[in-house]
Amino acid sequence: MQRTSEVGDDYFHKVVDCQWACPAHTPVPEYIRLIAEGRYSDAYMINWKSNVFPGVLGRTCDRPCEPACRRGRVEAEPVAICRLKRVAADLKSDITDRLPPPAAQPNGKRVALVGCGPASLTVARDLAPLGYQLTLFDGETKSAGMIRSQIPRFRLPEEVIDEEVGYIEALGGVELRLGQPIDSLGALLAEGYDAVFVGSGAPRGRDLDIPGREEAKANIHIGIDWLSSVSFGHIDRIGRRVIVLGGGNTAMDCCRTSRRLGGEDVKVIVRSGFEEMKASPWEKEDAMHEDIPILNYRVPKAFTHEGGRLTGVTFEVVEAVYDADGRRKLIPSGEPDEHYECDDVLVAVGQENAFPWIERDLGLEFDEWNMPKVDPVTFQATRPGVFFGGDAAFGPKNIIWAVAHGHEAAVSIHKHCQGQDVAERPPPGATLVSQKMGIHEWSYDNDVSNDRRHRVPLRDKAEALANVRLEVELGFDARLGFDEAQRCLNCDVQTVFADKLCIECDACVDICPMDCITFTDDGEEAELRTRLKAPAENPDQDLYVSGKLATGRVMAKDEDVCLHCGLCAERCPTGAWDMQKFYLEMTHAGPHA
């Protein structure tokens, strides 16, 4: 196999599973250690720099980091990374003096941003300190886009949104034009901006065109529009019996909101199987905790109505069959159709982008689905100077993706405005530093905690269901936050091996609690994986392989379940193993980009 030391920074980045999985590549273990130290403001600032909305994301993130977390492979559940982020946001002190100062003078460049959601706000955050004049347009009268309109207040209090949008406004050069929808990109471009960023989200909820839709329309609502009306205080009641159609996170927000607005008998009914639902497992759990049953394998056939009033929904009962390629098909099960009575239906079966306001003669090419063609690296459209990000770029994802897009688009906009090639991307900054403090002392706490994942305390159910604006999760306090932070394995503190120092004494092999290390003959990776001390059966995780040692063998370490406890380095008599912290920071728009 190729020696791993010749592979480069990406190798060590990939070992930090959470950071690798995060679209914004937030240095997760670093801020978790700071939380354990009680340095909440420092932890917050690492997040703020990387993902812009720590308080919001600490409550709402789709957390791609958690399924990737190594702890989930060595124990039952991953570290509660998302809710630790909230700890940093909740317990920090005033950080306003740590924000970048407003630019000394404008740089003379003007950028228009369509939409005032997470993608546009991220672009604004990155560009404002560089002296840009940024104008954000939004049809709503309040900022933050879907963060405010679609996420219910019982999950995300308004103060948190206002605080974090406020940090961006405070950077100077940022003008929010709220209540001003853009209805023509051509007209906007004619105003002579140096660049335009489209971060208008995926604002259109899909409808369900089945019999009875028109007749019963008074009691059939599109999920995201309905959530938005609740958020802005236009709706404060719903019928006693509610059916939510759909299996994504919007469906979960709809059913839980219904429970707080008078819905006593609320059901989620979904086409797919329970396991395949798009909603995150924890969001399903939260819904079921609020006495909301989820019925699966039921395809809506018709809305029933009487005298112009909705009476219920008829469903065909289906079952899943898989063809030879493993593709799922839903076929009728043969069971009789089922009818469920209800007073209101919320349709949450997906959402899509819509660009009726972009003229087709502006030099922007559209694809076969009538979506603008956007470069997945630069986020530039086919017309130079026009950029897309967030849901507007590649369809509905979630906040952390919008933030990641925003950072990249900001780099492109900066390059575009400086007359540089947007295709040349700045590499991330990376450092690798030994953590050795003494003979057997490390700068990090290498004693692995045996705690199982801590649950976030919840408000009493009756109290929580009585008020749609009362936050239901109480968050970890300092003590629970510390205990949960200690579960982190510090995967960024890497096991670095120096071939030349090794005397092949086997001390590391003997002490390793996970049987990760083997000294054996070299070979091709696939074959080598089968003859390690413990088989390396997770091909997504790399093998760390040395060059040839004195006996002709190589050292092969399976990264899969390494605890980063540092015992290999503690037991190494020659310092061939060392624990070195790998810190990777994405390069945002600025002097280096």
Binding site: V74, I503, C505, A507, M514, A534
Partner: protein
């Protein structure tokens, strides 16, 4: 030494043996020896062997004397019986324990100081009596605890870390054990677990005095150029005479060597030692030849390793003195105090 305890988390594929124990269940507390000590590798090999043999931990007694090596029983088989005895006196305590309770599996762990200097007489007599045990000497040829003086097994002409040349003849523990009548004699190297683990398994299963001289480099004081017990020196001069597979009783026997290359030896417990010959002329069934071979190779500077001698039929101390099958510590007053009539009968026989 290490300050944290070894994490309880383990590899997801870690399997349990027939008793339901994983290999990790046979561990002890974290070693306080120097990083890289060969002794820790031997502890790991003992753990592996006990796991593979499916030994019930509470049926094992581990005894040791004084020294780095004699500290190690704390680092393996944490659920077994242990006795850290007086310097050089482990063989006597082990003999006594074995006489009192013949049902336990006895593992004596000692070092070159403990067994070749202060305890040389004890060592010799426990071996010649045929006490049923596995006696392992963790042999590093140096006094590590007192910072690196030559020990009695240091080879003549070898150099200390400070450059002093040893002028005394080294004691060869293997030759001594052969001469004293050990019925299972092996030499191995802490840096070669593939060889060491089967030898420990076979030694534990052997009935009678089993002895393993295990060369174990002292990374701190005896792993330099000029040492004859360093990793590099042992690897360069190691001459393994055979490779051992230990096949437990009732396990299917797999033949993976051509006939004639493999010798099979059945032990008392039904286990089979399958010996793959590496040195063509070496015969582990002949004590005199073994001694000659060892001396000839030693003269050429080679370190002979492997299973050097085994006599599976000889029996142990209990056989020799005819004790009852029931361990003596389980006999009640009725058996131990037969009464005046029995005493009179014995006295009459002796008149």
């Amino acid at each position: 030494m290490t300050y944290i305890t070894k994490p309880q988390l383990h590899h997801p594929s870690l399997r349990a043996n027939g008793l339901g124990y994983t290999r990790r269940d046979y561990e002890g507390s974290v070693s306080t020896l120097c990083a890289g000590c060969g002794h820790d590798s031997i502890s790991a090999a003992i753990i592996q062997a006990a796991f593979e043999l499916e030994l019930p931990p509470h049926r094992v007694a581990k005894l040791s004397g004084i020294g780095c090596s004699s500290k190690t029983p704390d680092y393996f088989l944490g659920a077994s019986h242990g006795f850290n005895t007086v310097h050089g006196r482990m063989p006597s305590v082990l003999t006594g324990a074995n006489l009192a309770n013949r049902d336990l599996i006895y593992l004596g762990v000692s070092g070159d100081g403990d067994s070749a200097s202060i305890g040389l007489g004890q060592f010799a007599h426990a071996i010649r009596r045929g006490v049923n045990m596995l006696y392992i000497v963790e042999n590093n040829g140096v006094y590590g605890l007192t910072k690196g003086q030559f020990s009695a097994t240091s080879d003549k002409g070898s150099k200390s870390k400070r450059g002093v040349v040893n002028h005394d003849a080294g004691i060869d523990m293997v030759s001594l054990a052969l001469q004293m009548g050990a019925t299972f004699v092996a030499r191995s190297f802490s840096g070669d677990k593939a060889q060491l683990v089967p030898l420990i398994k076979a030694g534990l299963a052997h009935k009678g005095a089993a002895f393993i001289d295990c060369i174990s480099p002292c990374v701190q004081f005896n792993n330099h150029v000029g040492s004859t017990k360093s990793f590099d020196y042992v690897r360069e001069h190691n001459e393994a005479v055979n490779r051992l597979d230990m096949i437990p009783p009732r396990a299917p026997i797999q033949v993976d060597y051509a006939p004639g290359e493999t010798v099979r030896v059945q032990q008392h417990d039904g286990s089979i030692l399958s010996l793959h010959k590496l040195a063509e002329l070496y015969n582990p069934g002949n004590r005199a030849q073994a001694l000659g071979y060892l001396q000839a190779r030693q003269a050429r500077g080679q370190i002979v390793t492997g299973l050097l001698f085994v006599d599976p039929e000889h029996g142990d101390l209990h056989d020799a003195i005819g004790t009852v099958d029931t361990p003596l510590n389980q006999l009640g007053e009725a058996e131990l105090v037969p009464g005046a009539a029995a005493l009179a009968k014995i006295n009459a026989e002796l008149q």
